[in-house]
């Protein structure tokens, strides 16, 4: 899976916002708010990647149990799917 649109992310008051930019801005007008993990996932989804690969990459970055990371990743991917920004 990967993102349908070209997103840029920006830190605002300790969290992050992301918007589709360039010509994609006319296709997708919502502003997404997320935490640091969400931002990491969004960055990874700029290239074609599986859910397992995301979990694996984040497990290497964060000292958190893989099962907890998997829950966060699944939840965030569902949010992105509901928002209509993922190509699966």
């Amino acid at each position: 899976m990967r993102l349908k649109y070209n997103f840029v992310c920006q830190e605002v008051s300790g969290s992050f916002i992301a918007v589709a930019v360039g010509d994609d801005a006319a296709q997708y007008s919502r502003l997404l708010r997320m935490n640091q993990t969400g931002k990491d996932i969004l960055e990874l989804l700029k290239k074609d990647i599986t859910e397992d690969e995301i979990v694996h990459t984040l497990s290497e970055k964060y000292e958190t149990e893989e099962s907890k990371i998997r829950i966060s990743v699944s939840r965030f991917i569902k949010t992105l799917m509901d928002a209509g920004v993922l190509d699966c």
């Binding site: 920006q10 605002v12 916002i17 930019v21 801005a25 006319a26 007008s29 502003l31």
Partner: protein, 399 residues
């Protein structure tokens, strides 16, 4: 117009910028609906919303009203990210093609605000090498798919390119147009004042002093025409808070004197300092200035614009009817500058000017706009001059 709302708005902006908790006694008398309407009109709703969050005002509002504020902030944040991304792409292309360029105004000032979106922008301005106008036109309309809002193949002040959802780029060939000829002369060789961005050859910027001088001159151009709003005061405050300690004031004052802007700069700086630091004890003249800015809003008003033009025609004389006659005649039969900017085809084929006059006149008469405007001209009282009058400022500058 209740200027107390504007004073409250600026107070909240100051609280956000200084990270100071708003005074509950002051907050209790604020009217959230009025604040929203005024903050929107002045293009600072996103910043004011951050101030509202620091007060207890939001908890007493119905959910849909809070959502309205949130939408304003989201929109400002999104627009800023979109403009920043797009501007970087355009400037990088210009750098790669050896076209010197310099982003102006809001795109520079926004970096001094603590959060993205706090400095709202409805467009982006970029000054560039006018000798490459055709290359820029081809790039904007080709590779970047922009629509042309205004473009003149002959000499002009700026070209405007637009694209959904929000993109609006004003590509400046000059910093000032014929409306302020003294500024136009001052910036004739602007390229000589510019410095390269780090690691770049053609992406340029002003020194802090020169940026501030340009910021003041640009503000004054609008101030003495349709008027400027509260955002300028916030910009002044933000700029001076970040930069004043490092600026060369000898050079700054010397250059402001050349432009006749020292009094205007001082008035705006003092007023912004007072209002954004919560000091409401204003002098009569400062109240007049604040009222004028409150009424003007972000984009000024056509009434101010008309009045100031009439005053310019009148100059030192007392012949108001002569000035009104001149105004009406110039509106009916505009000079060549009008054609250069608004009707370049007619400008290049001057034989068409009489046909264009008739067409323009019929169109304006049908829409009723011109008749209404001329009625307002006739009714305008030119006795009392407002702070935006260039004569008022000239008198102050002369001491």
């Amino acid at each position: 117009m209740n200027y107390q709302n504007c004073s409250d708005i600026l107070y909240l902006c100051g609280c956000v910028l200084n990270q100071s908790v708003p005074d509950p006694d002051r907050v209790v008398s604020m009217n959230a609906d009025m604040l929203y309407a005024e903050a929107q009109r002045h293009g600072i709703a996103s910043l004011v919303f951050s101030g509202m969050e620091m007060t207890g005002l939001l908890s007493s509002l119905p959910e849909e009203k809070v959502k309205k504020w949130e939408r304003a902030r989201n929109s400002a944040q999104r627009n800023t990210l979109l403009f920043n991304y797009e501007r970087k792409e355009i400037c990088a292309w210009m750098e790669s093609r050896g076209i010197w360029n310099m982003p102006l105004k809001g795109s520079v000032l926004q970096r001094l605000y603590s959060e993205i979106g706090q400095r709202e922008m409805t467009d982006n301005d970029i000054l560039y090498d006018a000798s490459r106008k055709q290359d820029v036109y081809d790039y904007m309309t080709g590779e970047r798919s922009y629509e042309v809002y205004s473009y003149s193949p002959v000499e002009t002040y700026d070209d405007v390119f637009q694209k959904p959802p929000v993109y609006n780029f004003e590509m400046h060939r000059q910093l000032f147009d014929d409306f302020t000829p003294e500024f136009q002369v001052y910036y004739q060789n602007v390229r000589d004042r510019l410095l390269p961005d780090e690691g770049k050859q053609y992406c340029l910027h002003f020194s802090d002093e020169d940026f501030y001088i340009y910021m003041v001159a640009h503000a004054y151009k609008h101030f003495s025409n349709g008027g400027i709003g509260l955002r300028h005061l916030v910009d002044c405050y933000v700029w001076n808070r970040s930069k004043a300690a490092f600026m060369n004031f000898d050079y700054l004052y010397q250059e402001l004197d050349k432009l006749g802007l020292r009094t205007f700069e001082m008035q705006c700086r003092t007023l912004s300092d007072k209002l954004l630091s919560g000091n409401d004890r204003l002098e009569t003249e400062e109240i007049e200035l604040l009222k004028y800015m409150c009424e003007s809003g972000s984009f000024g008003t056509s009434e101010n614009s008309m009045k100031h033009r009439l005053e310019k025609y009148m100059g030192d004389s007392t012949n108001a009817s002569g000035a009104k006659r001149k105004y009406i005649l110039e509106r009916l039969f505009p000079g060549m500058d009008y054609y250069k900017k608004r009707a370049p085809f007619v400008y290049r084929h001057k034989i068409l000017i009489p046909v264009y006059w008739i067409w323009r006149l019929c169109r304006r008469m049908v829409s009723g706009g011109m008749i209404q405007e001329f009625c307002s001209v006739c009714k305008t009282n030119l006795g009392k001059r407002d702070p935006g009058s260039s004569e008022t400022m000239k008198r102050k500058e002369d001491g």
